[in-house]
Structure formats: C-alpha cells, structure tokens
Amino acid sequence: MKPAGLSFEQAPPFGVPLRFFLTAPWFLVLAAALLGWRGPELFASRWSPVTLALTHLLTLGFMAQVMLGALLQILPVVVGVVVPRPRLTAALIHIPLTLGALALATAFLSGIPVWFQGALGSLGLGFGVALTAINLALWRAPVASGTVIALRCALGALLVTVGLGLSLGGYFGWGWRLPVVTMTHLHAAWGLVGWTALLVAGVAYQVVPMFQITPPYPRWLIRGLAPLMAVSLVVWSAFLLGGRETAAALASVMLAVGLAGFAATTLYLLTQRRRKIGDPTLGYWRISMASLLAGALLWLATLLVPALAQAPQVQLLLGILLILGFAGAVINGMLYKIVPFLAWFHLQAQLFRRAKIPTMKQLLPETRIRRQLWIYLTALLLSLAAAVDPSIFTYPATLALGVTGAWLGVNLLNIWRMYRRALRSSPP
C-alpha cells in the first residue's frame, strides 16, 4: 500500500465533462427529428435500418456521451485516481464519439458501406481512448470498493459491447461473414445490461444513499450483484453462441431477476429517504427504476411465454423501457445535479470572496426541472404507446421527445451562460 501513489487531486477542468453534457441533449432532438421524418415505420421492427439509426442516436449520442463524460468527472472522487491529460483525453473521446454517432445513423439510413467504415473508425478511436484512459485509472484504484467492482464489470462489458459493435460494423462496411442476428442480441444485452445497468448500479450505491440520505444498499448486493450479472452474461452468451436455447433462457432469467432486484431495492430505499425536501431529480430516479423494473418483468414474461418473445412490439417496448425509461431518465436526472454543482464549484474556486456566487437553485430553478421532467415522462409514455399503436402515437411522441430534449439542452446551456457571465463580470 503506497499512499504516495494515491492522487487526491481535485476535479478536472469544467470544460472536460461539460462538452459531453452540452452535446448530448441535442441527440434527443435529432432522434425526435428522425421520428418526425420517417414516422410510424420506425415502430415496425427493431431490426429495420431506420430504427437502428434511431437506437444509436440515443445510445451513442445521448447515453454513451453523458456516461463517459461523467466517468471522467467522478473517477477522481469515487476511485481516487485522476485520468491523465484530461482536456486532450476528453477531446479525443468527445469528437470521435459525436461524429461517429452521426456517421453511424447516416450509414443505417443510407446503407452506404463507406459511412459504416467512417463510423467504425471514428467510434473505434473514441471508445479506444475512453476504455484505455478509464481502465488505466480503475486498475490503479487503491481500494476495491463495491463501486470499483461494479465499474470494472461495467467497463469490461463496454469493451465487449464495442468489440461486437465494431465487428457488426465490419459486416455492413466490408461484408465480413458473421452470425449477425446472434451478435446483435449479444451487442444489445452487453450494452444495456452489462455496461449501462452496472454503471448505473455502481454509481447508485454511492449516490442514492448519500444524496437522498437513505439507508445504504445491502452489503451482499453491493459486492455481489455486478460480478453475478457479469458471470451470467458470459454464461448466457456462451449458450447462445452454442445454440443451446433452453440453457440460454435460464441464464437470462438470472439477468432479469438481477435487474429487477436492483430496481426494486432502489425504489424501496427511495421510500426510506431521510431528506424530506422536494428534490426534482428524485422524480427522475423513480421513473428510471420503475422503467427498469417494468422492463425486467417484461423480459421475464417473454421467457415464460415464448409467443411474447416473437412479437415485434414486445421487443420495442423492452428497448424503449430500457433506453428511454431506465437509462435516459437517470442520465437526465444526474445531469441536473452534476452540471449546476460543477458550475457552482468552479465559480467558488475562482471567484471566492470577490463576488457573490449564484447558488445551484439560481443556476437552475426547480420549476424548470419539474416542467421538463413532466414532458420527459410524457415522451416516455407516448413512445411506449407508439410501440403498440404507431399510427396514433408516433407524432405526439415525437413532439414530446423533441421538446423535452431541447428543454434539457437549453437548461444546461443557461447554466453555462450564467457561469461565463459570473466570471466576466467579477472584479479581477
């Protein structure tokens, strides 16, 4: 144990995470624009190219964008290790990821191989830098807490997700011969259940008890859930690749039960919160965990009733619950904590005692959060309805998604504007 090797350096510059956070909401708007352009056909099947374009605008442009930006920010806090050359590292992740997400959506929409090739190169670079930088930090962590264990599992799952995604890109871009359907199942499961759910769990172990002031998660869950899920994913993948359908279904029961258990535990802890004052981000946690629970139960139902698994609507419902419901909502809620806090934090460090610093609630008034949240919930419910009846609900869902995404983007931009104004107007 060498404490000297432990770096407790303070947070990276504001611009490092902020560039990710200010970009991400506009991918929600872009997704809504695509929905508005192509209409109800998007809800025909998860396998149609337009739907795949939409999915990747959400998962790469919105989800991965914020998740990677937030990781660069929180690693020094939860792990005690700094990512080297933060500005350069952030740029080398952010720019290729953004361009890659746009290129991949274009590739699915056009079907032109060269777009897949460009997306592959760009995303390969962005994720390559991210995985290298974050892994280096994580494996140097001085103490292997439950969060570190979950983050390591999540990062491992991201590696698998990206590897599978790049290979699938090779199928479209260069005509590689691959078992595309099975690999797509694996890609989606490793991305949503491995990377996303385990990252959210690892962060929730810290954030939920501390910021909502609740009892802690049970110890066995903190230490056991992530490894159990990771092992189940490996076993499930092996059976699926080996063509052992029944065994694979049994392994996926483990995965669905694990997700449901995490969601139910979190919802229970939130009912025990000691912090009594209204906290708008709490609403986002509830939407997220309720969606995860609903998604996990729906997944279990498809395992028990095979006819359900074949229905294209059920697969779309699962995707919407997990991407827009579970991941999208918790990300949106976290942004509303992280961005105003960081603005305040950096202002305090730079302006201390020279000017009155706006509080977090002045940087982002609660009424704005609350209204945007209601529209987000509306967008989620309308999207679920559109999966069942696209002809009626597609356009209302489009409108709600576009409005809530743009509103999130404007709310975050406003914080940045106030931050810059406060810096400019302060006496030197």
Binding site: M1, A4, L6, G80, S145, K337, F352, T359
Partner: protein, 147 residues
C-alpha cells in the same frame, strides 16, 4: 476490524441527519427552528473536522510520511465546507431561506463527495496503516470531543 472507518462514518451519518432537519425547517419556512437546528449542525461539523485535523490526519501523516497527499486535499475540502457553512449562516442571519436552501444544495454535494473519498479510500487506508495504533487514535478523537 475497520475501527476508524466505522467510528467516523457514523459521525458522517449523524451530520447527514442534522443537515436534513435544517433543510426541512427551511423548506417549511420556519426560520427560528432552522436557525436552532443549523447552529447545532454547524457545531457538529466543526467538531468532526477538528477530530480529523487534530488527531487523525497528523497520525496518518506521521505513519505514511506524507503530509502533502490525501490529507492536504481533505483539509482544503474542510475549508471549502466551512466557507459554505458560513455562507449559509449569513443567509439565515439575513432571514433569506431561499438563499439558504440554494447554498444547502451545494453543501450536500460537497459533503457527500468528501465523505465518499474519506469512507471509501482514506479511512480504510488509515485503518490499515495505523494498525495497532487505531485504538489510541480513536481515544484521542474522543478526548478532543470531551474537551
């Protein structure tokens, strides 16, 4: 046995409770109760900081031979929290509960990210590094509180 980790993490939870009570009073618009609860909370925080700064950190720095590492940043963060607490005290003195709540939001995050660093990293390191001296360091912290 993770003795220091448990002893000081329990104090963190105590401070969380008081924080929640002060915030609750402010939200209810009860200035008098908020002032009373906040005063207790601020004193509780100060006692906790002093235990660390006067007993735990010197012991850690001596055992690790490193006064510029983690404890330096922890002291900086204590200062930052003291300043924010002073700002909240000022808001209460002026009777501005909205300003108090706005600053409380930031204090909670400052407190909790500091707690995460201490509970996840620093306290376990102290327990390992100090070994058999753990008991006497805890006693020193108790004595400080009794003073």
């Amino acid at each position: 046995m993770a003795a220091i980790a448990e002893f000081l993490a329990a104090e963190h939870r105590g401070c969380d409770e008081s924080f929640a009570s002060a915030e609750e009073a402010a939200q209810a618009g009860d200035l008098a109760r908020c002032r009373a609860v906040f005063q207790r909370f601020q004193a509780e925080m100060e006692r906790h900081f002093q235990k660390e700064e006067d007993a735990l950190f010197p012991a850690f720095e001596q055992a690790s031979g490193n006064a510029m590492g983690p404890t330096r940043v922890m002291r900086l963060e204590h200062r930052q929290m003291r300043e924010t607490l002073a700002g909240m005290e000022g808001a209460l003195a002026g009777g501005d509960l909205a300003d108090f709540l706005g600053q409380a939001e930031a204090l909670l995050i400052l407190m909790q990210q500091h707690n995460i660093k201490e509970e996840q990293i620093l306290y376990p390191m102290c327990d390992r590094l100090l070994g058999s001296a753990v008991g006497s360091v805890i006693q020193a912290m108790r004595d400080l509180a009794a003073r």
